[in-house]
Symmetry: C3
Subunit: 154 residues, 3 copies
């Protein structure tokens, strides 16, 4: 009987100990305030390959949020690369002309994959005048990543 009591007490202490460790981890997690930006400059390439308005709007909002992040303000270069269905956002008559011009005005490169134009038989003239053309969107992602750019897919 004594033995059983001792085991019970030990188990209780152990579980209390575990709970304390766990709580301290939860508190430690809560105290985290974000990664510290120690570099002089940062780079990100945003992948836009869907024509879902929610995704397009999210991409634009995400880029603006990253540019406004107090940790990155004034030291972030961004490129937005459209391919596949994402091309729709860059076609004349889309509802994103102002948002895209705004991004370019903030220094963002806005570029389109040439492969997609060929595959989908879209002429260059159908894109907004200010859009850049690159050989392939996927090549662009891969080369940029090798240069140290973060690939972000909204």
């Amino acid at each position: 009987m004594k033995k059983l009591m001792m085991i019970a007490v030990m188990l209780l202490l152990m579980s209390a100990g575990y709970a304390q460790v766990h709580d301290s981890l939860l508190l430690k997690n809560r105290a985290y305030t974000g990664a510290v930006a120690k570099r002089h400059h940062y780079y990100a390439i945003y992948q836009l390959d869907k024509n879902d308005p929610k995704v397009i709007q999210k991409a634009i909002r995400n880029i603006n949020n990253a540019l406004n992040d107090p940790r990155l303000k004034g030291k972030l270069s961004v490129e937005l690369i459209a391919f596949s269905a994402g091309t729709d956002a860059l076609l004349k008559g889309s509802e994103y002309e102002n948002d895209l011009k705004n991004l370019v005005g903030r220094g963002v490169i806005v570029a389109q994959c040439s492969n997609t134009l060929q595959e989908r038989k879209i002429s260059k003239d159908q894109l907004y005048d200010f859009i850049a053309l690159v050989p392939s969107g996927n090549g662009e992602l891969i080369i940029r990543q090798a240069e140290g750019w973060a690939i972000v897919k909204p």
Copy 2:
């Protein structure tokens, strides 16, 4: 006629040669057993920006799988960053409280984008008590990537 025969034989040999090369490539592919982990430590940041339960569950499962990967066991740091619609998983009353606590218990940082809270008019108190807050989810992704963390989007 002789010439035709010779051409036929040559074509046959060539296609056989091609098939052999191809088969050896297929066998070589099958023999691959995964990248070898040579580093002392690894880092990954998981992006959660959807409230689709399948995606949230996949994110949690993916993180646990990565932590359990024999190649990474005991040498992987993980952060889960929620923004946009992904925030829903971190709101009190969601069905993911235990899973999230479990992740924190395994050393995972679970953090929320402050921008999203502002945009969606969500107060900090609506999040689980143990959630960390960072200036922007996208800034977090970009800074982490620059530090050598892999961005994984489930």
Copy 3:
């Protein structure tokens, strides 16, 4: 009155100046022709975790486009890693056998996450004979990224 005129003229000049800067930025953006590939070799790992035929086809098309990109031709290594629902594309009887063999023929590693097989109770024999098996898809992504591979999610 004179003052008001002066202010009006100044505002006009300022807005003209702004428009000019903006236009020059738009022209500058248009003149961009893609990142320059300066390295000897590049690496990319493609994440396939959905069974939506559009996503599978996009993954295959994306990989071929990257391999064909004039900037990367002959100096790009690619791996395609399937996990979660993406596994479906690698099951015998799927419509992607030829496309996958074609990728292997181009030197692409096509691999499957062992965790997913366990979770979804799929036996190794149900996969095409030539598919490689790795401990976990997420571990693969994380280790590859640490080695300098770009993670691309179609």
